[in-house]
Structures are given as structure tokens and as C-alpha cells.
């Protein structure tokens, strides 16, 4: 078969439907990556326009441009859009597009999930956009501190848009994070062991793990605040045993890792591009990976530095101050490693390099001011002033936008297969760089002069007018620069000349394909022996196109790729992907209906939406798997591997495992909240504890243990040739016992609106109940799958997945019931 024929056959199998209708049914990572990036840059535009409105408002003293009601919507939405609808989705889009190409594989682990995540993002973003257009956008500042955002002081729907819309959008972040983690660990070119991974993949892996552990606290906080607003459960009301500080803890427990979630992918882009621009290899690959991991760990230990002024004891602050300064060490290691890389090589000043230099200058300043505000006494002065606004823009614009612009210009030839023709980009860089520093350098000063963030006007007597005018004028220069980048990219996409492959002479695998990339990426998968396969294997791209790699000789009738062993990168099993389907967009729409029903308080619609999601989820999983054993598959080079469904650690198991990491963090945050309220909130202990019940405790723990044991036995039966039907039924019974006991407990506990204790207990119980029902559904589904013939001694993957969820249920049920019953026993 010639390369062209192979291309046509693969393309027919892999490509999405033609025309715009293809967007709604595509599950291809290149399509979805582009859609993510286009949408996120649209939101960047919206957020940018809001920023210009803010600067217009503050340009002169006593401005009457916007009143305080509108102005607070503008700055709240600016922060919200930039954080949640631009920065995170841009990382997702870039990683969705690039990761499979860099890792030498054909798609991400769960293509339908990619699409579902995109549509959740698009719908949730639209929700927030609508609120902005209608003038009922969130207005409590992007970190939404209650009680200001509680029902008493913000009675309108504005805050609900934030809480519900952002939670909806975060689904996409969690989906993407699960997917990246599994993809990076399991979906790589054969031979690509962990130490041969492109550095960007390492950063994406660390970032994904951080999303899995960083986002759940915010999701929990949003749920609690929304429940308080809608149903009056007093989590944040001091007079009923709640505490507004709980929100601050949960928010910043997310918020600080968020900063590194935004920075690390950008650092990945830098570590990828910089060595190419300097015609050398990255200095200290191992050190850089280690510092990324160290950053991830440390970033979870310093959320309190956003709360230095809340009256936490000084020794506590000292700990977080130390952690906050310590976090500068791994950042310093990376910065010096990058400069060392330049020393090692012969740097060339291409456009991406200009943006990288812009990054280094800006980010070093941002890091230095970051260290300043990590020093507690200084933060007491700087906190909540324009100094902080300036600092965070140095870190986020410097640490994210410059690298992303570098990345865009670096990968544009790959995206479009063209060379840049107009030299607008250089001009744009100068404007952005000067405009940025003019805006925010001045803002530091006005902050120290006492200008608070978020004020709508100021008197001329304050002496801030000149500085603010400088800021505003510069910000418009920066905006013009960014608009020029947009024009440059549009011109590039439509009118530039065709370019040659790999214009930068890079070493990573994304350049070993035609540009723009075909839907299937690689006609055959390479065998990787080093970190830079391109220069090592001569003519690699052509050889892969000729089918000389793995999977080159398989018929192109299904979408197939290889999964590898996590550490060594040896082929593990063969994966068959689902094809184009509208299921993700429909599922996302029904999910949106669920959130919408909560938002506009059409509660009769909520159960219908939940039912819809249940049905769609069953359709989703039912379509996978096979009714016959396939046996070992030839993958080329004399290797034979089983199908994914015929192993006990299928992609679904890995996906579940990492989803449970996020889920466990959510549960852990809930327990943290419980303990926090107990020890710190005023108005504890509550007047009435839950009456302890031995029967419930036994039913919950016993039922959960039965389910765990029975699932193990079912899996063993299946392996030995039986079907495991009866054990599955016993497991289902155990799970239902847990559900029933928890439901009884919820029924008889003190009224949830009476005190934060009861409210927390209610959420804790509901969480366990939800998982018991979910587990029961999975077990019922497994039963149906066994009956329908989807399992066999070989096709055993589904038992492992259900067993994993049953184990998780047992853990949370035991902890949950203890947390609920023990206080009553002690009292």
C-alpha cells in the first residue's frame, strides 16, 4: 500500500463529517483542540474588552463612565472570564491539540469525553455571556466572598450565574484533566519511557494532577454557597454556626494552585520552544521535571497567603509565608535553567523568542513582587490594593499570555501548514510589551499610594490621576498590539504561503507529520529511542507515512491506537476508539438543562434532567466493548498485544481511578469544611446533635463491605469461566443497603437550615447517598452487560471498574457515617 492510499483509507475512518455539521459530532482531538482554542480566544477578546472598560473608567478621577452596579459586573466578569473561560481552556485546547501529536499517538484516551468537555465549556461560557449581555452578571468580585454574595446581600440572580456557570465550566476542566493524565501515562509511542517524554507532556501531567486536586475545593464551595442561597443552609452565616472564612479557605485552596495550573503549561511551552530557538537541548530536564512537581506540591501549601489579613495567628502566617517564599525556589530553578539553556546554545531572535524574552522580563518582575507580598507585614499594606492587581497581571500575563503567544507563533506553521508572510507580529510584540509594562508597572505604585482594587472612582485630591492615566493609555496600546496579533493570525490562516514541514528544525514528534495534521496524526506509530526522535531517525516522517512503524499494516476500518506500559513505554494493549457521534453534545446539553433548571429555579425540571443524564450515560457506556473475544492482535514489528477490553487495567479503569482522585479531594474538602466550622466558626457546638444509631452504622459499613467483597468474588468467578451474576446481585444488595441507611439518617437528622452542623451533615449524607446510587446503577448495568454477553474470562475490564467504585463507596461511607454518628455518641 502506498503512503497516499494509506492516507486516504485512514482519513476516511478518522475524519469528522464535512462542513460545520462536523463540529457537532466530531470527537477528534485536532478538531476539538482548535475549537477550544478559538472559543477561549473569543473569551480572551471579551475579557479584554472588559479590561478596556475598566481602564476607561479609571483613566480619570471622578469618572462617570459606569456606575458602581455596572462597574462591579465589569471587573467581576473580567477576572472570571480570564481565569475560567480563557486561561484554563487555552491550556486545555493547546494540550488537546498537541499532546497526542507530541506523544506519537493518534488521539487522547477518551475522545467522546474531550467533546463533552468542550460542549460543557461552550454552554457554561454562553450562560455567563448571556448574563453579561442582560446586565445581570455576577458582581461580587471574581473570588465571590460571602456574606456579600449570600442571599441577603446579593438577592439577585447575578451570583447564581457565577456559581452555577463556573461549576458547569469546571466539568470540562475535570474531564480534560482525567483525560490528559490517562493519555500521558498510557497513550504514547512505543518505546517512549517516562524519561523520554517531551517536557511539555511532563508539565501537562503535573498540571492535570493539580486540576484534579485543585478544582474540587472550589466546586464544593460553589455548591455549598449555591445551596445556601437557594435553600437557606447556613454554611457561611455566622449567626447560625457558619463562617464566611470557610469560603475563603475553600476558594484559595483552589485559587492558589490555579495560578500554577495556569503557569505550568506555559512553562511547558517555554521549555519546549526555548531550546529550539537556541539550537540546543534543554538544560536540566530532570531538574525541571522535579521543580514542576515541587511547585505542584508546594502550591497546595500556601493558599493562606491570600488571607494574611483575616486575623490568622502570626505563627500560622509564618508557616504560609515560608511556604510562599519557598515556592520561588523551584520557579527560580526553572528560570535559571532556561537562561542556562540560552548560554548553552546559539539563540536566534525569531518571533516566538521575542515573546519568550518578554515573558522572562515580565515574569521575573512578577516573581519578585510575588516574593514581596509573601512577606506578611508587607502584604498587610499591599493586600487588596492595585499593587496586587499589578502583581497578578505580571504573573499571569507575563507567565501565561507571553508564552502562549510564543507558542501560537511557534506552532502556527503546524496548525496551518503555512509560513508567516506579514511582519505584523514583531510590531505587535513591541506594542504589547510596552503597553503591558506601562499599564502595570505604574499600577504597583498607585497601589502603594493607597488605591484599592475594585474602586469605581477616586477623587482628584488623591493624587492618583496621572498614574491612572498612564496606565489607561498604555493599556490601550497593549490592546492594539493584541488586536494586531489577531489580524496577523487571521491573515496567516487565510493568505500566507504554504511552508515546509518542521520550519524550526525541532526534535519532537508533532513535526513528524504533514501540516496541517491529518485527523489520524500518524499513519503508523514510531518507535521512540530518545527525547528528540526527529533528528535521530532520518526521514522519520516519511517512513511513518509509508507505514513502517507500528499499526502500519492494520486495515484502517476502525480508529485504533496503542496503549503502553506507564514507565517503560512498551506496547501494552490495542485501543479502539469510538467514531463520530452527537452523543457528547446531547449529553452536555442535558447537563446544561440540569444547571439551567437550578439557575432559574425550575426545580420540576431538575429530576427530568437527571433522568436524561442517567439514560445518556447508560447509552454512553453501552456502546463500548465487544460480544466476542478478539485474542492477541498483530501490531507490527512482530509484537502482539491484547485488546483494551481484555485486560484488567483498561483505559476506563485508569480514567475512573483519576476521577476518584478528584472525587476524593472533594470529599476531603468537605471533611475539612466540617472540621473547620467545628473548630473555628462562632456559634458551635450546635444545640442538637444527630441521635447516634447503631443500626444505621452497621447497615452502612456492613452493606459497603458486602459490596466490596461480592465484587471481588464476581470478578474471580468471571475469570474462572463463570459469569459472576449472583455475586453482582449481592453487591447490588449491599450497595442498596448503604443507600437505604443513609436515606434514613438524612430523614431523621435535625433540620438542615437550623445550623451549619446540620447543613454540613446533610451535604455529607447526600454525597454518600449519591455515590451509593451511582454504584448501584453501575452494578445493575454490569448485570445487564453480563446477561447481554459483553463479558467473558478475557473481556474482564468492566468488573475491575465497578469494583473500584465499590471500594471508593466503602471508604466514604465508613468515614461519612463515623463523622455523622460519633459527635452524637460523645455528647
Amino acid at each position: 500500500m502506498t503512503a497516499l492510499r494509506r492516507h486516504r483509507a485512514l482519513d476516511a475512518t478518522w475524519s469528522s463529517r464535512p462542513g460545520f455539521r462536523g463540529w457537532f459530532s466530531t470527537v477528534n482531538h485536532s478538531d476539538l483542540g482548535r475549537m477550544f482554542l478559538a472559543t477561549s480566544f473569543f473569551f480572551f477578546l471579551v475579557g479584554g474588552i472588559l479590561a478596556m472598560l475598566i481602564r476607561a473608567q479609571l483613566a480619570t478621577a471622578d469618572s462617570a463612565f459606569a456606575g458602581p452596579e455596572i462597574y462591579s459586573q465589569i471587573f467581576t466578569m473580567h477576572g472570571t472570564i480570564m481565569m475560567f473561560l480563557f486561561a484554563i481552556p487555552t491550556f486545555e485546547g493547546l494540550a488537546i491539540y498537541l499532546l497526542p501529536k507530541m506523544l506519537g499517538t493518534r488521539d487522547l484516551a477518551f475522545p467522546r469525553l474531550t467533546a463533552y468537555g468542550y460542549w460543557c465549556y461552550a454552554f457554561g461560557g454562553t450562560m455567563l455571556l448571556v448574563s453579561l449581555l442582560l446586565g445581570i452578571a455576577p458582581d461580587g468580585g471574581w473570588f465571590m466572598y460571602p456574606p456579600l454574595t449570600g442571599a441577603i446581600y446579593s438577592p439577585g440572580i447575578n451570583t447564581d450565574f457565577w456559581l452555577i456557570g463556573i461549576t458547569f465550566v469546571e466539568i470540562s476542566a475535570i474531564c480534560a484533566a482525567v483525560e490528559f493524565t490517562v493519555s500521558i501515562l498510557k497513550y504514547r509511542a512505543p518505546g517512549m519511557s517516562l524519561d523520554k517524554m517531551p517536557i511539555f507532556a511532563w508539565y501537562a501531567l503535573v498540571t492535570s494532577l493539580m486540576i484534579l486536586t485543585g478544582f474540587p475545593p472550589l466546586i464544593l464551595g460553589s455548591i455549598l454557597l449555591e445551596v445556601e442561597r437557594a435553600f437557606g443552609l447556613p454554611f457561611f452565616q455566622a449567626d447560625l454556626g457558619g463562617d464566611s472564612l470557610l469560603w475563603q479557605h475553600l476558594f484559595w485552596l483552589f485559587g492558589h494552585p490555579e495560578v500554577y495550573i495556569i503557569f505550568l503549561p506555559a512553562a511547558g511551552v517555554i521549555s519546549t520552544i526555548l531550546p529550539v530557538m537556541a539550537r540546543t537541548t534543554l538544560l536540566g530536564y530532570g531538574w525541571i521535571v522535579a521543580s514542576a512537581v515541587a511547585l505542584a506540591f508546594l502550591s497546595f501549601g500556601l493558599w493562606v497567603h491570600h488571607m494574611f489579613t483575616t486575623g490568622i495567628p502570626h505563627m500560622g502566617l509564618a508557616f504560609f509565608s515560608a511556604a510562599s517564599t519557598l515556592v520561588a525556589v523551584p520557579t527560580g530553578v526553572q528560570v535559571f535553567a532556561w537562561i542556562g539553556t540560552l548560554w548553552k546554545g546559539r539563540p536566534e531572535l525569531h518571533l516566538p523568542m521575542l515573546h519568550l524574552l518578554g515573558f522572562l522580563f515580565t515574569f521575573v518582575i512578577g516573581g519578585l513582587t510575588g516574593v514581596m507580598v509573601a512577606v506578611v507585614p508587607f502584604d498587610w499594606q499591599a493586600h487588596d490594593t492595585a499593587f496586587i492587581t499589578a502583581h497578578l497581571h505580571y504573573v499571569l500575563f507575563g507567565g501565561f499570555v507571553f508564552p502562549i503567544l510564543a507558542g501560537i507563533y511557534y506552532w502556527l506553521p503546524l496548525f496551518t501548514g503555512r509560513t508567516r508572510f506579514f511582519k505584523l507580529g514583531e510590531m505587535a510584540f513591541v506594542l504589547i510589551f510596552l503597553g503591558f509594562h506601562g499599564t502595570f508597572l505604574a499600577m504597583h505604585w498607585v497601589g502603594l499610594m493607597g488605591q484599592r482594587r475594585r474602586i469605581d472612582t477616586y477623587d482628584v485630591e488623591t493624587g492618583w490621576s496621572t498614574i491612572n492615566l498612564i496606565s489607561s493609555v498604555s493599556s490601550f496600546i497593549m490592546a492594539i498590539g493584541l488586536a494586531m496579533v489577531l489580524v496577523d493570525i487571521i491573515l496567516h490562516v487565510y493568505v500566507a504561503l504554504r511552508g515546509r514541514r518542521d520550519p524550526w528544525k525541532s526534535g519532537t514528534l508533532e513535526w513528524a507529520m504533514m501540516a496541517p495534521p491529518p485527523a489520524y496524526n500518524f499513519a503508523s506509530l514510531p518507535r521512540v529511542t530518545s527525547r528528540a526522535p526527529l533528528p535521530d531517525i532520518s526521514g522519520l516522517a516519511n517512513r511513518l507515512a509509508r507505514g513502517e512503524g507500528y499499526l502500519g499494516n492494520r486495515p484502517a476500518v476502525r480508529r485504533e491506537t496503542l496503549a503502553v506500559d506507564i514507565s517503560s513505554g512498551q506496547p501494552d494493549y490495542l485501543v479502539v476508539y469510538p467514531g463520530n457521534t452527537a452523543l457528547p453534545i446531547v449529553f452536555a446539553a442535558v447537563t446544561g438543562l440540569f444547571f439551567l433548571s437550578l439557575l432559574i429555579k425550575f426545580y420540576w425540571l431538575t429530576p427530568l434532567a437527571v433522568l436524561g443524564m442517567m439514560v445518556l450515560a447508560l447509552v454512553w457506556v453501552w456502546r463500548l466493548g465487544a460480544r466476542e473475544d478478539s485474542g492477541l492482535q498483530e501490531i507490527g514489528h512482530g509484537d502482539r498485544v491484547p485488546m483494551a477490553g481484555e485486560t484488567s487495567r483498561s483505559p476506563g479503569w485508569w480514567g475512573s481511578a483519576f476521577l476518584l482522585v478528584a472525587n476524593g479531594t472533594f470529599f476531603g474538602s468537605l471533611l475539612f469544611g466540617y472540621a473547620f466550622l467545628w473548630t473555628v466558626a462562632p456559634g458551635w457546638p450546635p444545640s442538637q446533635w444527630l441521635e447516634p444509631s447503631v443500626a444505621e452504622t452497621i447497615a452502612v459499613t456492613g452493606g459497603a463491605l458486602v459490596a466490596v467483597g461480592a465484587m471481588r468474588i464476581a470478578a474471580r468467578h468471571n475469570r474462572r469461566g463463570g459469569r459472576g451474576l449472583s455475586s453482582t446481585v449481592i453487591a447490588l444488595m449491599g450497595t442498596l443497603a448503604v443507600a437505604a441507611a443513609i436515606a434514613t439518617m438524612l430523614h431523621r437528622m435535625p433540620s438542615a437550615g437550623s445550623h451549619a452542623y446540620a447543613a454540613t451533615l446533610f451535604v455529607l449524607g447526600s454525597y454518600v447517598l449519591f455515590h451509593a446510587i451511582l454504584c448501584a446503577l453501575m452494578q445493575a448495568n454490569l448485570f445487564a452487560r453480563i446477561v447481554a454477553g459483553y463479558t467473558s474470562p478475557h473481556r474482564r475490564a468492566e468488573f475491575a471498574i465497578v469494583a473500584l467504585w465499590a471500594d471508593y463507596l466503602a471508604v466514604i461511607a465508613a468515614i461519612g457515617v463515623a463523622a455523622a454518628q460519633i459527635p452524637g455518641m460523645l455528647a
Binding site: S72, G140, Y145, P146, P147, L148, Y153, D243, S244, L245, A278, L283, G284, W287, T309, T310, H314, L317, A318, T325, L326, A328, G332, V333, Q334, A337, I339, L342, W343, K344, P347, L357, V364, I365, L368, T369, V371, M372, V375, V376, P377, F378, D379, W380, Q381, A382, H383, D384, A442, L448, M449, G450, R454, T457, V460, E461, T462, G463, S465, T466
Partner: protein
Amino acid sequence: MPTRKRDHCSTESRKEDAVWQNALLVSIEAVAPIGAENSKQGDSYNRMGPGCSAGADASDNQKLGRAGKCGKQAEQETGARRPKCGPGPEDVTAPPVENVRTEKAKGQRHGERHAHGVNGMPQYRDAGFRLRVTRSCSDWVDKLFPGIRFAHCRKLLILGTAATCLTLSGCQGEYSTLDPAGPAARSIATLWWVMLIGAAIILLLVMGLLAAGFRRNKKEVGDAAHMRFWIVGLGLGFSMSVLAALLAYGLVVGERLLPRADADVVEVHAQAERWRWRFSYASQPDFETENVLHIPAGRPVDVHVTSLDVVHSFWVPRLAGKLDAIPGHVNRLRIEADQPGVFKGLTAEFNGEGYGGHVFDVIAHAPDTWEAFLREEAR
């Protein structure tokens, strides 16, 4: 520090006058509005009640009166209230060389103030502001680099600091954290200047290294040597030692600012509500003031901060850092004003529509006025 050097320095700074003139003109514009605000403030100071005006420091009254006449009391007021950042008004009327000497003799300062007070009003604005900047900068340089003996180094440092101050329209202002009027704000302002200079040096160093990376004729060194230098040496060694030093410094400053038990401490309570502040006084439990907090000057004051509705933050930038007012919690902040005066207070946590205008005044009384205030309010 030997006087000779100082003289030398001030002569130097005089030579630089011409160079600075243009920059100054711009900066003066920015200072002028502050003057206007000050005259308002002066009025409210006079208005604020029988206790206060009766007991007001005679010299202050004298000053205010004169200032009212010529409409330019701002500078004096500023001078009187700002012993650290700017010189008194007397300095600005005298020739520059003398000024610096006058400042040396701190003891004489208060005595001389009124002797020079209001003469030569028309010309002193320019000169005064410049000298204030020069002087405060030279003050800072002395404080930060006590060991510097070389005039040129000093001059450079002064120029650098002054240039920063000037281009960014100075550090003065009623809300300015860099124009401290109390011990807490002062030690934090010092902390800032130390960190700013440190950060500038580090930035220059890193950018220098970055620029040097573009040299054409670089020596070929092995990867291992690069790693030792960049990652172990600079990445780990350099950042850790700088950060450890800074952290220790920050902790010491923080410890010093904590509200410690002291017989002299005055206790007041601040209760925030959208959009006003209510202050009560431990020694006068039945009495409250709204949006005006009275404190004695020169004595530590513990403000017990809480909120009735949403999260607010109590902040008097010229006196101390801020502390949040959180419903259900009472936080304690130590503030202190060096001299009697009026200080602007702000609410520093977004709290809804009225946030921008949610401000208050802190009036620091001289000992006798404070007694009078308490007596007055006790009635």
C-alpha cells in the same frame, strides 16, 4: 556619619538642581492636589469638636491660622505631620545647604519650625518639594546603606531613589503607605524600600545573565558545568539564601508589629457595616463615633475590628497595615500615630456598591486634647 560627607553630598545635590528641574515641574503638579485636600482636612480638624479645638496644640493652631490666610497651609501641615518622609517647612525656605544641616540637628527641629514657617511662600513650592525628595531619599540611603562613604556612590544611590520617587510623582499622599506616620507603617515602608532595591538588583542580575546568553563568542562548557552553575548555584543556592534572609527579616518585622500587652495601650472597637464605621472606646463604653476614630498620638492603640454584615477591612495606610472585619470574629490590630493629625482610613475589601466611598478619618490627639476628648465624651 561624618558631617563633612553630608555637606559634600548636599552640595552635589544642589548641582543637580538644574537637571532635575524639568522632572520636578511635572511632579509638583501631582503634589498640588494633595495640598488642596489638606486644606479641607485642616478644616475638619478644626471643626471636629470642642474637645479638640480647645486642646489643640497652640503651635498647630497658629500654623493652621496662617495657612488659612494664604491658602497654602498644605506644605506646613504636611511637614508637621510627616517627620520621616519630608522636612518641615523651615527647611524649604532656607538655602539647600543649610537644610541638610538643620535636619542633622533633630533636636532643634521643632523649635525652629515656626521661625521659618511661612516666609517666602511663593517660591518654596518648587524648591521645597525637590528638597523634600532629595532629603528623604538621602535619609533613606543613609538608613539603608549606613556604611557608604564614597560621595559618588551616595550620589548615585540618592539619584536613583530620587528618580524613582520623582518619575512616579513621589511617595507622598494622604493614602500613601510610603508616607508613614506611625511606627508600623514606617517599618513596613522600610521593608518595601529594602525589597525594592533587592528586587531591582536581582532583576538587573538576571537580565544581565539573559543578555549575556546572546553573546556570540561563548566558551564551550559541558552540560555538567552548566548544571552546577545554573541549577545548583543560582537556582537553588542563590534563591534559597536570598529568600531565607528575606523571610527572616519579614518575620522579625511581623513579630514587632503584633499587638503585645503594654500598660500604655488604648483599646478601641471598630464595627463595620455597609457603608459606615462605628467606633467605640473601651474607657467610654456608652459612647460611639461614626466614621471618625479618635486616638491619642504617640500611644499604641489596639483596634478590635468586627463586622455586622459582610467582610470589610480596616486600613489606615499611613499608620499600619490592614486587618479584615469578619462577621462573627473580632480581630485585633495595633496602630499608632507619631504626631497629632488627621489620617485617612479606607475599607479595603470589596463590599458592594458603596465600596468606593466607604472611608473614615482617624484623628490623633495630643495628650491634652485626648484627655479633653475623653472628658467631653464622658459627659
